[in-house]
């Protein structure tokens, strides 16, 4: 078990959005989160990544096991593809960036600065970052946005290799990714309206 979530409730802006979320990820397993816009997929992923505390429930995972891939890729416009990737590799312990560049077909763009990349190329670089973190659990938020079909195939291949190596992936997406994965529909876990106290959490935060 690399990640286990039990009876989790998460809040966005002080309002509960999801509750009673439970799932577990075994090594080599991918879980796709489905649900309409605004259901709380991003909030759930940020909570799992440790960026915000859960409202209730538990997340059991090893310290520093989760690599978070957000909507924004965290790229610096004036740095080259290689410099961007090398920085994140160094922060995460100095992994070799060669395989990551190769996996997303970025070798030809090594010296190009990130501001001159297309949206899809930026996304590929952002996804390549996951490979240099060396972390077992990927929490990905809409990873295929602005990718063409060839790049989606590269991504599917990278996830397959990650799973084969004993990793796990938690992916929020609306599209078919082209590899077998369990699906979790979040719609039944929507927090009941009116149960939330819009001020409670924020007031504790400010004055507690």
């Amino acid at each position: 078990m690399v990640l286990s979530v039990t009876d989790l409730a998460v809040a966005r802006g002080g309002l509960p959005v999801l509750e009673r979320v439970s799932f577990a990820l075994l090594p080599g397993e991918a879980l796709v989160l489905r649900g309409p816009n605004g259901i709380g997929k991003t909030t759930l992923l940020r909570t799992v990544a440790g960026l915000q505390p859960p409202l209730a429930g538990r997340i059991d995972t090893a310290e520093g096991a989760v690599a978070y891939g957000a909507h924004a890729d965290g790229l610096k416009a004036v740095l080259s593809v290689e410099e961007n990737l090398r920085f994140w590799a160094a922060i995460h312990g100095g992994a070799d960036i060669g395989p990551a560049l190769a996996a997303y077909d970025l070798n030809a763009l090594r010296q190009r600065s990130a501001q001159n990349l297309s949206a899809g190329q930026k996304r590929r670089l952002g996804l390549a970052r996951l490979l240099v973190t060396g972390r077992p659990v990927w929490a990905l938020d809409e990873p295929t946005v602005s990718l063409d079909t060839a790049s989606v195939a590269l991504f599917a291949e990278a996830v397959r290799a990650h799973l084969a190596a004993g990793g796990a992936a938690l992916i929020a997406t609306h599209v078919d990714l082209g590899f077998p994965a369990r699906e979790l529909d979040l719609a039944p876990m929507r927090a009941a309206a009116g149960t939330g106290d819009a001020f409670g959490a924020d007031f504790d935060e400010a004055f507690g």
Partner: protein, 218 residues
Amino acid sequence: MIRLFLRDVKLSVRAGGGFGLGLAFFLIVTVLVPFGVGPQSDILRAIAPGILWVGALLSCLLSLDRIFQLDYEDGSLDLLATAPIPLEAVALVKAAAHWVATGLPLVLAAPVLGVLLNLDPRGFGWLLASLAVGTPALSMIGAFGAALTVGLKRGGLLLSLLVLPLYVPTLIFGAETVRRGAGGLATDTPLLLLAAITLGTLALLPFAAAAALRVNLR
């Protein structure tokens, strides 16, 4: 941590970075003041320590909002927060990078600009020393203010209002060191107090900044 520091310094000196912005502002202030005050060199000599310190402080203020805002906007801050380095270290390293890009050039340029303000020759060494000791506190306090306002659109005004009162002790003791030095008096007390403020901010504010960042990233 070293890599984060090098990246931030590199970003600030590349096109569009904040390097030179503070320095140019400092230059403008110190060049314009003699025109505004008039050509009486004894008046200039009397106000030089204060003007130089106020100029350095305002120049520092100019680039504070960039410390965390740029990383927040492009998503790097989320990724740094989940990276295997503590957020306290991120805050300290980013303040250090801000000091190298903004404070250090001010320290090195100040003696040259002191000439324009007719600073007493005895004061030059103390100007250099007080700025070198005091400006790290400006960067660290600024990083704390930037961490507090990181999620806000147009947070620059709020940032200035939050940070300026905290800058006052540094300004008082910094300018006092130069004034006493230029007048040939003992400077131990204000310089030691200035050093104490800097060491205190470096010891405490990384934790406060990290706590503010954690709240703002939710």
